[in-house]
Amino acid sequence: MTIHFRILILTLAMLLLLPGNVNAVAYCSLRDPVAQIAQLYPQKTNQLSIVKTVDDNIRAQVQIALPSNDLHFSELGRHTLYIAMKGQEVLGYVHVRSEQSDWGLVEIVWAIDKDLRIRDFVFQRCRSPKKKIAQHSNFKAIFIGKNYQELKQQLSADGITAKPSVLSHAQGAAELANVVLRCALKTLLLTEILWGDELEKL
């Protein structure tokens, strides 16, 4: 083994030992949720991206605020909040989050209003057989119009499932309702923690 290889391998090993907050995929594979933003804000003329880092400190804050919950490793690293604009007017925010489920990761594109309440949501990826139920307005009504505190009151004592009174409105898609609720809570919490200061300046 030549000295060059040793240096390369040593460098790789050093990188491995250092804590980092990167995205696991190459950046050329990043795709903005363009079609979903257009669906959530049809009157949008442009969008403004603000990129922030979800690091281990932020992850710990989520675990304190939402005990029994954690962020999936793909949720660490640099993430974008999109401001939907109509000319100079701010229409609202768009935040994409993933949540683990029995059918793989569910990726939800959240529309959030300026008071940090859920305005609407669409799935970027959801391979649950009950996805169609979750796209219905009756199911969405569980979440729409609510802020972080109101949604947190819907959590049962275990911290990861919704209360039975909430699930009775889930039309048979209880497991998916739990996934969407956890994702909504993390999304609103992270929006406030990471982007709150920037959003106040808009």
Partner: protein, 333 residues
């Protein structure tokens, strides 16, 4: 410059980027993503009775350019110091089996601030918009959809018009055919395009075309690609038909088809795939049929281990059956 100096230069640039990413050092760090990306790949080619390695260390960057009321566009830049060790056949970017080079992978700007009805405009060095690769990026991975073999190159310098609309997405490019060189060589060019349904959906369908001259081979292709996902399973395929016109060999029909079945664990750490590939050419006495089986395991955001094995299942009239095993460790910081 010696290789260790290259590495030191890369690390210096990385730390410089880290510094400018702090708010007090100005706006360049705003909306910037950057990673140091290193990999070591070991190849065991039984057909050639050769073991080789490829080491790569580089910087992967992504920057969104904005003004006060909206995004202007984004840029991607990837520069890698790449070292071969006993690698045959020698890839076109290198001059010997133990050569090392700085390689630019993706390096492009995409202007996205136009009105909704106008396409985005991309300029630079980018992956040709064709087939499955357009929606499944294989950059730096063992997983591959064989752009290089099918089209003559995976990346090229030029410009493209692209857009994601409410129901469809498209990407059409004109590139110079110089592959790693930003110029046309002996009349080289490539016209490439794909139009398809939205790539985040569970069912994706795309149509692609290619008309180009690269390395003095004229190629024409029409292709259809599709993907279907159910739960943690995915099945996808690509069929490309066309012809090659080589200066001394004349025209020959080409057919390339790939079918892939893949499975992902529910936490997305483990990905398994198996591919069945058919390559047929009118001047070949037999049709190449290959099976490729592989997996990748993502330990965390920084470390990934992947392995794959390709085996030719038919017996070629001349030469040995293709048989290649590869293992790769990739670290991102």
């Amino acid at each position: 410059m010696k290789p260790w100096l290259y590495i030191c230069s890369l690390l210096f640039i990385s730390f410089a980027l880290a510094l400018v990413s702090q708010p007090c050092y100005g706006n360049f760090g705003k909306n910037l993503r950057w990673s140091i990306d290193g990999s070591a790949r070991l190849n065991d080619n039984q057909a050639l009775d050769n073991t080789s390695a490829i080491y790569a260390l580089g910087i992967d960057t992504h920057k969104v350019f904005t003004h006060s009321t909206g995004d202007i566009g984004y840029g991607v830049g990837q520069v890698y110091f790449t070292k071969l060790a006993n690698h045959i056949p020698v890839p076109f970017l290198f001059s010997s089996k133990d050569d090392s080079e700085f390689i630019i992978r993706e390096a492009h700007l995409n202007y996205t601030a136009g009105p909704n009805w106008l396409p985005n405009v991309r300029v630079g060095h980018f992956t040709l918009p064709f087939g499955l690769e357009e929606s499944i990026d294989t950059n730096g991975r063992l997983l591959d959809y064989y752009h290089g073999k099918n089209l003559g190159t995976k990346l090229d310098w030029g410009l493209s018009f692209n857009k994601v609309l409410r129901q469809i997405e498209y990407n059409f490019s004109y590139t110079l055919g110089g592959k790693d060189q930003a110029k046309s060589l002996a009349g080289s060019y490539a016209l490439t395009g794909r139009i398809g349904s939205l790539s985040h959906l569970d069912f994706v369908l795309g149509l692609s075309f290619f008309d180009g001259k690269i390395d003095e081979v004229s190629r024409k292709r029409l292709a259809i690609d599709w993907q279907y996902y159910w739960g943690t399973w995915g099945i996808l395929g690509e069929l490309a038909l066309g012809e090659d016109n080589k200066q001394h060999q004349g025209r020959q029909k080409e057919k390339y088809s790939l079918v892939e079945l893949n499975k992902t664990s529910i936490n997305e750490q483990l990905k398994l795939y198996s591919q069945f590939i058919i390559r047929a050419r009118t001047d070949h006495a037999s049709t190449d049929k290959l099976v490729n089986i592989g997996f990748s395991y993502q330990f965390n955001n920084q470390l990934e281990l992947s392995m794959s094995g390709v085996k030719q299942i038919n017996s070629p009239v001349s030469g040995q059956k293709q048989q290649l095993a590869r293992v790769q460790i990739r670290v991102r910081y």
